[in-house]
Structures are given as structure tokens and as C-alpha cells.
């Protein structure tokens, strides 16, 4: 069962770790000072959430948070490809749309985890939801505002949605050992969570005049296997940068 628990917790933690890092790449580049600070703060929250998830495994005698974050082989990661995607040419529309799709998924996952039969996870979910409430407000408020503002803003959000939607869909790829997790009452099936996620995002997208359609099989095919260790082509560069400092002195205490 420990393999099943590690599979679940790493999926949650690795998403947070890499999303936090990608958001943090915006520090100093945000569209206005106030938003730069707010978004950087969200990035910092996500990284903290990753640490808290890893700690659940550490408490069971597995690796430490630092070992999970900085000393793993790429194929030991369980992150979705959505969070590995780079910021490309730093279009804030793309950053906001990823934040929106991702934090809607966070809402749904954490709400479900609150009722997890694995108590340490249920307790942590309860705690993280406090911060996530703000993330979700921040995300939908901007998407709704910008979606209904100028034609340029609307087009940029729509093209971001088109580009990201298959990736976001695959946040809910079935995890290894998922039947065991579901049977133990740790988390509902990923396909159920995906439906809840669609219900979470659809009213806000409609409000913003944005359209999403179910991704085709051919769009999803190259994204399959992320939860089983298959990394996107962006991972290596990202991980090299994330681990640059810790690799410079692996024995250092931080």
C-alpha cells in the first residue's frame, strides 16, 4: 500500500512544486507591480504546499522533502505535463489561463481529499484549502474580467485555453495504483474529479465568453503517461535550473 500512497502524494506534490516554480519565473515580469507581488505570493504558496505533501511521506520514513524535490531521477516524478510547460514568450494571458485551469483542479482535488480516509492527507487538505480559496478567487476574477474586456485580451485568453486545455485535461490521468487508492477511500477516481473540474470551470469560462471543447484522442495521446513517469520534453531544462543551487553543494544545510 505504501507504493499506492507514494503514487498519490507525489502526483499532488510534484504538480505543486513545478507549478510553483513556473509561476515564480514571473517574478519581476508581472504586468503591474501589485499583480507581480500577488502572483509571486501564489507561487510561494504552491511551493510550500509541495513541501507539506512530501513531508507526509517523510513522516512514514520515506525520503525527505529536499530529496524528493532536488535529488530524484526524472522518471520518478509524477507531475502532469501542464505544470512542466515553460512560459514561452511570457504572455500573461497564458500564465493566467494555466493558473485558472490548475487552481480549479486544486479546488476539486482538495475538496475531495478533505474527506479522505487517510487522515494526515485529509487534515492537510483542510489546511491548504484556506490558501487555495484566494488562488481560485484570483484566477477566476482575472479571467472573467479580461475575458469581457478588450478584443485582444479575449483572443489571448481563448488561444491560451485552446493550447492548454488538453494538458489540463490530463491533470486527471489515472494514477498508478489508483484502484487501490479508491478502494481505500483515499481519493475518488480521477475521471470523477475531472467531471467536477469541468463543472468548476465551465460557468466562469462561459461568463468570460470563452469556449472549450473536449480534446480529441490524438491531442491527448502525446500527453499520456505523465503520472507513470513519462516526462515532457521541457522537464530536463526545468529540473536542471531548479536543482542548480542544491547541486552546487549537495551536502549543504539550508
Amino acid at each position: 500500500m505504501i507504493e499506492a500512497l507514494e503514487s498519490l502524494v507525489l502526483s499532488l506534490a510534484d504538480d505543486e512544486l513545478l507549478m510553483g516554480h513556473r509561476h515564480a519565473e514571473w517574478i519581476g515580469l508581472g504586468p503591474i507591480l501589485e499583480e507581480d507581488i500577488a502572483f509571486a505570493s501564489i507561487a510561494q504558496d504552491e511551493t510550500g504546499h509541495a513541501q507539506a505533501y512530501y513531508q507526509l511521506l517523510t513522516d512514514l520514513g520515506l525520503s525527505s522533502p529536499d530529496e524528493y524535490a532536488f535529488k530524484r531521477q526524472p522518471n520518478a516524478f509524477r507531475s502532469a505535463h501542464l505544470v512542466e510547460l515553460p512560459n514561452f514568450d511570457y504572455d500573461y494571458g497564458l500564465a493566467l489561463m494555466r493558473h485558472f485551469l490548475y487552481d480549479a483542479a486544486e479546488q476539486v482535488r482538495l475538496e475531495a481529499l478533505r474527506h479522505s480516509t487517510y487522515e494526515p492527507l485529509a487534515g492537510l487538505a483542510e489546511r491548504l484549502l484556506r490558501e487555495e480559496k484566494y488562488h481560485w478567487m484570483h484566477a477566476y476574477t482575472w479571467v472573467q474580467r479580461l475575458g469581457r474586456s478588450t478584443e485582444e485580451a479575449h483572443l489571448r485568453l481563448q488561444s491560451a485555453l485552446d493550447q492548454l486545455f488538453p494538458y489540463a485535461w490530463m491533470l486527471f490521468e489515472e494514477m498508478p495504483y489508483e484502484p487501490d487508492m479508491v478502494e481505500a477511500g483515499w481519493i475518488p477516481p480521477s475521471s470523477d474529479l475531472r467531471n467536477l473540474w469541468l463543472a468548476q470551470i465551465t460557468p466562469w469560462l462561459r461568463e468570460a465568453g470563452l469556449v472549450h471543447t473536449q480534446p480529441s484522442e490524438s491531442a491527448l495521446l502525446p500527453l499520456k503517461g505523465a503520472r507513470h513517469g513519462l516526462r515532457s520534453l521541457y522537464f530536463d531544462e526545468l529540473y536542471a535550473e531548479m536543482t542548480e543551487v542544491s547541486a552546487s553543494d549537495p551536502e549543504a544545510e539550508w
Binding site: 501589485e34 507581488i37 476574477t141 482575472w142 474580467r145 469581457r148 474586456s149
Partner: protein
């Protein structure tokens, strides 16, 4: 979000934010909002600073990270700066008394008890 029983109080209802938004003209800045923080339930709102935002709802969003991150907060207010009527610092003489009115300041009340006791003593009938 719970509605306040006080009709003067308008609470943010994030799910229902439907405020009109006017697109900015070229080179136009967003307006500023003044931010107030309530440190504990029932405490008075303290002004903590200002920020730029395109609308009141986004002012609240941004205020949370600007001003409620490093110290306790149970609620935030935002007020459009232009809604505030203020006296000019050039008129500060309005607040400067022309004669000594230190008796109205807190230290003016410092010796009240002593004076009262002294007065009471004077009223006591002297034993013959």
C-alpha cells in the same frame, strides 16, 4: 458570503461581482484605492496604504497580498481614493489652537483625581 445586517455595509460577494468596467484610454493609469485593514474582529479599520486597480473587486484581490501578508488581518476595506474628501496640508492651521488648550489634551486630565480629593477634603466639616 453573509450579508451584513447593517444596510450601510456592502460586503464583497466574489461569486456575484458584476461591476461595469470601462476600457482604459491609451497611457491612462488605473485609478488608486486606499486600503484599510481590520487586525482583529471588532477592531477599527486602519489605513495601511494604497494601490492601483482597474475595479474594486481587483483592488481587494491585490490588497490581500500587498497589505495582509505580513501581519494579522480578519477583513479588508478598499475605498476609491477619489471618494475621500480631505483637507489640504496647507490648511493645517485649522488644527493649531491660537491659545493654550492643553487642558483638552489627555494630560489635561492627569491630575483630576488629586484635585477631586483635595476638594472633598475641603468640604469635610472641621472638628472643633
Amino acid at each position: 458570503m453573509k450579508k451584513s445586517l447593517d444596510p450601510r455595509i456592502r460586503r464583497a460577494e466574489p461569486e456575484l461581482w458584476q461591476l461595469p468596467q470601462r476600457p482604459l484610454e491609451a497611457l491612462e493609469h488605473w485609478p488608486t484605492y486606499e486600503v484599510f485593514v481590520l487586525r482583529t474582529r471588532g477592531s477599527h479599520a486602519q489605513h495601511v496604504g494604497s494601490l492601483h486597480a482597474p475595479s474594486p473587486d481587483i483592488a481587494l484581490l491585490l490588497a490581500k497580498e500587498q497589505y495582509a501578508r505580513r501581519s494579522p488581518c480578519v477583513a479588508l476595506w478598499v475605498v476609491p481614493t477619489e471618494a475621500i474628501l480631505w483637507t489640504s496640508p496647507e490648511d493645517e492651521e485649522l488644527f493649531t489652537p491660537a491659545t493654550d488648550k492643553s487642558y483638552r489634551e489627555p494630560q489635561g486630565y492627569l491630575h483630576t483625581r488629586e484635585r477631586l480629593e483635595k476638594y472633598r477634603d475641603r468640604l469635610k466639616p472641621t472638628s472643633a
